[in-house]
């Protein structure tokens, strides 16, 4: 019996937060509390790297699988494992959590202990979502994750935090409860086909479902994921949640939580219901393209830095959904790659916006200007992250967007053409924002702002390094995911192939 490394990824943050309960929440202890949380988060990251190191990139199967009966009467088991698609998302989660903790190092001084506990619980739930290969277990983590995020936004957020927190949780729940019913329906379908219930993903992959049932089940799953992504027109919770959340919340929300929606599409909605997926793919792609352009246009006119980044997320996630909808090697690889990119670059952007708002206590673009002269180092990092978000060749964003557009073009050139305008628009709004914030004349209020502190160095260097690494050596990341992506595409193409054959 080898060491249950994936379980420890989930358990370690929980243990960490339990340990924190024994530290008294006083001001003197604040540093201790933060350090404990940071050490735990770093340990989890190291462990996730270990998983990557020991991962066999040639195999498409789930690895490190652990399986224990949980509610045997219903075929529910505690089943976890990673394949090439989830592996890197697990690493991303491990990567961003310490960064999120660091990013709120100074802005959170109230109830530090509870803050750290919620961040760690959130990390454990996110890990659970990515490694669960039992649908019931997946849903448990999916829903459990809402609670810590709700508290993070609601307690440590900005002025309209309560509205944003409640909106966040209700929107997400409204979508996910229907998915719960669809999951139950799947188990019941499996029971009528084979005589026993099962929530096991691999068993359910093999289940053949009538086209009519697939239609409704796919819609239920897709709605839950579309709200989470968020796909236009389900995106309205996102700007509120992002703007009101504390920096750490925004980093995790943008960096990891949004990926859960697209991950769900890749892992569940498409391969489980191939026929319906083939039918709905153009509609999803249409919404994605609308989202790309709409998100970019709205981002362009935002006066608030955080809101601008939030809308840029809507636009960037549209690319991911487009790549998934294309359902070919380039598209899906690009989509998974873009999920990681977006996590790194948007996480970085939110962290930088957090630094600015910690210094000035405002996030209005008009309040800034000429920062380049005041804090050249911070602005240099800002520039790199901005460029990576735009998709400059040599940085990470380019690889993902290029692959997605390639995949989309092979599938349907019109979608690719419209989506490509989004690339231009993103350059426009990001660079324009960058110009207004960092160039021009320095106002008096901005002239004395301090440059990067050591803590902020520790936070931003990994992000920039990762952006460069992913831009220069994409194969390092693409290689382990390739077999799993291939298998998933074959799985999802079953339905389409059946349809075409029937058509002839």
């Amino acid at each position: 019996m080898h060491f249950p490394i994936l379980t420890s990824l989930i358990a370690l943050p929980i243990l960490g937060s339990l340990a924190l309960l024994f530290v008294k929440d006083t001001e003197q202890n604040e540093g201790v509390i933060r350090r404990i949380a940071l050490i735990v988060a770093c340990l989890v990251f190291v462990e996730s790297l270990l998983v990557w190191a020991r991962f066999d990139p040639a195999s498409a199967d789930f690895q490190f699988v652990e399986r224990r009966a949980w509610i045997p009467a219903f075929g529910i088991s505690y089943a976890i494992g990673v394949d090439g698609i989830s592996l890197l998302l697990v690493v991303l989660t491990g990567f961003l959590t310490p960064i999120a903790l660091l990013s709120s190092w100074e802005s959170v001084h109230r109830k530090t202990r509870a803050f750290c506990i919620f961040i760690l619980l959130l990390e454990s739930a996110m890990m659970g979502v990515f490694v669960a290969i039992d649908l019931f277990l997946f849903y448990v983590f999916w829903d459990a994750m809402l609670i810590p995020m709700y508290f993070l936004i609601g307690i440590w957020g900005y002025d309209r935090r309560i509205y944003a927190a409640v909106k966040f949780i209700l929107y997400t729940m409204a979508g996910s409860v229907l998915m719960l019913l669809a999951i139950l329906a799947l188990a019941v379908l499996n029971e009528s086909a084979t005589g026993h219930y099962s929530f096991d993903l691999q068993t359910l992959y093999g289940l053949s479902i009538s086209a009519g049932a697939q239609f409704w089940l796919f819609l239920a799953f897709a709605l839950a994921f579309a709200i989470k992504v968020p796909l236009f027109p389900f995106h309205t919770w996102l700007p509120d949640a992002h703007v009101e959340a504390p920096t750490a919340g925004s980093v995790i929300l943008a960096g990891v939580l949004l990926k859960m929606g697209t991950y769900g599409l890749v892992r569940f909605a498409f391969p489980l219901f191939p026929t319906a997926a083939a039918f709905f793919a153009p509609y999803l792609a249409f919404l994605a393209v609308v989202g790309i352009i709409y998100g970019a246009l709205v981002a362009m006119v935002q006066p608030d830095l955080k809101k601008l980044v939030a809308y840029s997320s809507v636009s960037h996630l549209g690319f991911v959904v487009l790549g998934i909808a294309a359902m070919n090697t380039q598209g899906v690889q690009g989509a998974v790659y873009q999920m990681l990119n977006h996590g790194v670059s948007t996480g970085g952007l939110f962290a930088i916006v957090g630094m600015l708002s910690d210094r000035r206590h405002t996030r209005l673009i008009s309040e800034f200007g000429g920062l380049k002269r005041v804090m050249p180092r911070l602005v240099a990092a800002f520039l790199l992250v901005t460029l990576s978000s735009i998709g400059l060749p040599g940085l990470n964003g380019f690889v993902g967007e290029f692959l997605i557009l390639l995949g989309a073009f092979i599938w349907n050139p019109q979608f690719a053409a419209f989506a490509a305008t989004g690339v231009i628009l993103s350059a426009t709004y990001m660079l324009w924002m960058f110009q207004r914030v960092n160039y021009g004349s320095v106002s008096e209020k901005n002239s004395t702002l301090p440059d990067l502190k050591s803590r902020e160095w520790a936070l931003i260097v990994p992000i920039v390094a990762m952006a460069v690494l992913m831009g220069v050596l994409p194969n390092l990341f693409l290689r382990p995911m390739a077999p799993s992506v291939e298998r998933m595409i074959n799985q999802s193409r079953r339905g389409a192939a059946v349809e075409i054959r029937a058509g002839r």
Binding site: A73, I162, I169, L184
Partner: protein, 468 residues
């Protein structure tokens, strides 16, 4: 076997008779009696004991009994501080609570309509008085009066139903009614339908299903909080036990007739419970509407009535009992003699003053809202699986959507406790040890049933599978 049953029933009622005379350690005595009953229940497990054919201690009844004993122990534990604080007559308070508890247990075991009625009256009378036990408080008296009048009405309906059933079958025994109904199921007579409808109304009153729910918010608001917790869980569990037994055994052949009516009632109950709950500003009224909504979910399980649904009823009752009593326990510790502290606004900033109470309340509320990994999630999942399996997808969809709405009002309290600065600086009395321990125990059970539900789910499924 019959004598073991008799002993169990004696044990269950004995503690009720024993208590009024004693003055000092009444609560603990009640707990001892309840523990005795629990032991008896465990000894009777799988024996399928029956006495006189009108009281049966099958596993179904025993599961409900255990649930009721849990309700009883928790209620007694959280009552202590409130009884002290409000200077309620101790002897009467605990005695009435135990009396009505024995009525509930009898109701769970009754296999005869008349015995059910008897049990119903025993439990109701106790609860009526408990509702109005604070005689000098106008709202309490009003609540008790309303509850009594409407309850009497429902009893009358129920009695009429029994009369018609007797007229049809010549017996009030459930098994005889059942075999007769089965014989004529193809073409039910109007008399049968009338009996069924009247019984349905009677039960719907007791479980506070819409449109027979009008008494619930007033009674819940007026009664002392532990009593509210007691009746929202105990009465509901007992009534649902009898409801299930009557409709899934005696009236099962008429399923085609009552299923449609119950579906309408269930949908209305879920929607009214949650939508009106959103508009409440008093925590107890809000929890009252929440309990109406939960009755709706239980009805869904009753309608589905497959193997899963039957197990789901039992599991849901247990889960709901523990969670709701916990919530009312916290409410009881926060409210003050002059009825302030019941408003949602009074919870503002509770986290800063009493982080422990706030955390417990949050756990109970999230469980009521059906969040994993808490018990409420498993219970709802079980109910909705039953509904989907039985083909009632619409009921399940209404169920999950209303539970999203209910999350909204549960979260309002959480928002108040954690995210709103305190407005009033009214002191909150320190939490007594017993009540605190009871609340912590409830919270642990809520987590246990949420994370490791297998054992209890198996018991629930096994205890009901053998019977109907």
């Amino acid at each position: 076997m019959a004598c073991v049953t008799a002993a169990a029933i004696a044990a269950m009622t004995a503690e009720a008779f024993r208590t009024p005379g004693e003055r000092m350690p009444i609560g603990p005595l009640g707990v001892i009696g309840l523990l005795g009953a629990a032991v008896a229940a465990l000894l009777l497990w799988d024996r399928h004991a029956a006495s006189f054919g009108v009281v049966v201690a099958d596993n179904f009844a025993l599961f409900v009994t255990v649930t009721l004993i849990v309700v009883g122990i928790l209620s007694l534990a959280i009552s202590g501080p409130i009884v002290e604080r409000e200077n309620l007559p101790k002897g009467e308070y605990y005695a009435l609570m135990l009396f009505s508890l024995s009525g509930m247990i009898l109701m769970a075991m009754a296999a005869d309509l008349l015995v059910i009625f008897l049990a119903l009256e025993v439990l109701s009378l106790g609860v009526y008085v408990l509702t109005g036990i604070r005689r000098d408080v106008p709202t309490a008296t009003e609540a008790a009066f309303k509850y009594f009048l409407l309850g009497a009405f429902s009893s009358a309906f129920f009695l009429y139903g029994i009369a018609f059933a007797y007229g049809v079958a010549g017996s009030t025994r459930l098994d005889r009614i059942g075999s007769l109904m089965a014989a004529q199921a193809m073409s039910p007579t109007p008399m049968q339908l009338l009996a069924m409808a009247l019984l349905l109304v009677g039960f719907a009153f007791k479980v506070s299903a819409v449109p027979f729910h009008m008494w619930t918010p007033d009674a819940y608001e007026g009664a002392p909080s532990p009593v509210t917790g007691f009746m929202s869980t105990g009465v509901k569990a007992a009534a649902f036990a009898a409801f299930t037994r009557v409709f899934l055994s005696a009236l099962e052949p008429l399923r085609g007739e009552w299923s449609d009516a119950l579906q309408v009632i269930a949908i209305a109950t879920m929607i009214v419970g949650t939508v009106v709950g959103v508009a409440q500003s008093n925590v107890k009224r809000m929890l009252a509407y929440s309990s109406i909504a939960h009755a709706g979910y239980l009805l869904v399980a009753l309608i589905a009535a497959n193997d899963i649904g039957k197990g789901a009823i039992l599991f849901y009752l247990l889960t709901y009992a523990v969670t709701n009593l916990g919530a009312f326990g916290v409410v009881g510790l926060i409210e003050r003699d002059d009825r302030t502290g019941d408003s949602i606004v009074d919870y503002a900033g509770l986290w800063n003053v009493r982080p422990g109470l706030a955390a417990l309340m949050t756990i109970f509320l999230l469980s009521l809202g059906g969040f994993p990994p808490l018990a409420g999630f498993i219970a709802k999942w079980y109910v909705f699986t039953a509904a989907i399996k039985a083909g009632y997808t619409w009921l399940a969809i209404v169920g999950v959507l209303t539970s999203v709405i209910s999350v909204f009002f549960y979260l309002r309290i959480v928002v108040m406790m954690y995210m709103t600065p305190s407005t009033t600086s009214l002191p909150i009395p320190p939490t007594p040890k017993v009540a605190g321990a009871a609340l912590v125990a409830s919270a642990i059970i809520v987590f246990y049933l949420g994370i490791l539900p297998t054992q209890v789910l198996n018991w629930a499924a096994a205890s009901i599978g053998s019977i109907f």
